[in-house]
Subunit: 220 residues, 2 copies
Amino acid sequence: MLSISEENYLKTIFNLSDSGKKQVSTNSISKFLKTKPSSVTDMIKKLTVKKLLYHKKYKGTNISSNGKKLAIQIIRKHRLWEVFLYEKLKFKWDEVHKIAEELEHISNEKLIDKLDKYLKYPKIDPHGDPIPNKDGKIDIKQIIKLSNLSIKDVCIVSNVNDEDGNLLEYLNKIKIHIGCKIKVFDVIDFDKSLEIEIDSRNKVFISNRVAENILVTKIN
Amino acid sequence: MLSISEENYLKTIFNLSDSGKKQVSTNSISKFLKTKPSSVTDMIKKLTVKKLLYHKKYKGTNISSNGKKLAIQIIRKHRLWEVFLYEKLKFKWDEVHKIAEELEHISNEKLIDKLDKYLKYPKIDPHGDPIPNKDGKIDIKQIIKLSNLSIKDVCIVSNVNDEDGNLLEYLNKIKIHIGCKIKVFDVIDFDKSLEIEIDSRNKVFISNRVAENILVTKIN
DNA sequence: TAAATATTTTAGACAAATCTAAAAATTATT
DNA sequence: AATAATTTTTAGATTTGTCTAAAATATTTA
Ligand SMILES: [Mn+2]
Ligand SMILES: [Mn+2]
Ligand SMILES: [Mn+2]
Ligand SMILES: [Mn+2]
């Protein structure tokens, strides 16, 4: 059994490593979790003893296959709770992440199984992130950043960064949501901002920064 | 903001004090929470500084009105989650208490408001305990122990002790549940055990000990 | 009411998770 | 390659919640 802190570190390392593909630096973990690098070093040692991480002094950290399995189960819980909060309790999509950060640490396998069933085995969370199944398997779609599209491209929004509440609020305002259709009308050379049309209705300009945080699947 | 430990102590003291009516001994808290008396003394000091308890060395502990308010809100959360687990996720009534012990510590007022609404503002939890409303008000019914009834009395089960999973499992087995009707057929002089008929169907004997843990409202 | 017993508190220790300050190692710059 | 800057680790401290052992107080029993 892991403590809440251990779970948060493990999940963060899994995410920062791009699902275990890359090495993670001590500083990046410390920045993400808003703890000091020295605290991160301590926790890395602890999780390494538990064989959830590999670590060589001064070199960087990799997640082990056991670590991956545990991290994916935490993510599964997080995203199922997000669906519950969004679908059943009618929270806005920019409110669910913070609450799910707490709910994800409740450990009872039967609870998660029953929640999954109750929600009818959802495949994605309210931000378009895939929900791992009980065995840890994750459906991955071919997705690209909206900022990579060109004039006249059309796409469906499949995912947005759920870490930043301000971004989600802004997307609410301009009516961008998971599953909506976006057509690129113009790409401004000066700052790479985009003029887009959302669901064949409202036309707006969005910055390149915003476009980088919206993941889409091209449909033409 | 209270820690999970502080919340558990506060709730325990509220319950052991019979909703604030009685003084609570250090040992009784320690027994209930399975911690040592010295740990209890430490926590009492901390909660006294926060003005949630009154305490005089060697004399005993009383809960303050602020402490009562907080305890009632934790109980509200606990019982609402129990209703969710029982009604929506279809857990058995003997399974929900343990999980609710964790869920009750998630602190987000909007979450509890929305959960309450979603469950249609339930008045009692799966064990018949009243759910305090948002302002902390609790409906109290005229309830007595089943063990206090006499031959030919009829009653409705309104509450059972939810702390002991074994009791709940046993009640499941003999089909006693909240709202069921019980008629007393005989009271055995020797050990005060009862012969009862449940919902005009199955007749069984139950021990005095069991009858003491079933609260009912008389209907004749 | 004095002694025995039980309860409660104090003193000091420990593990977990964090921090600051300083040392060690790595990486970037001249 | 030497120096400067950055990153990472170590050493030691702090807070929270727990423990054991012993001391202080209260209660029960003889
Ligand atoms: Mn999230
Ligand atoms: Mn979390
Ligand atoms: Mn309960
Ligand atoms: Mn609890």
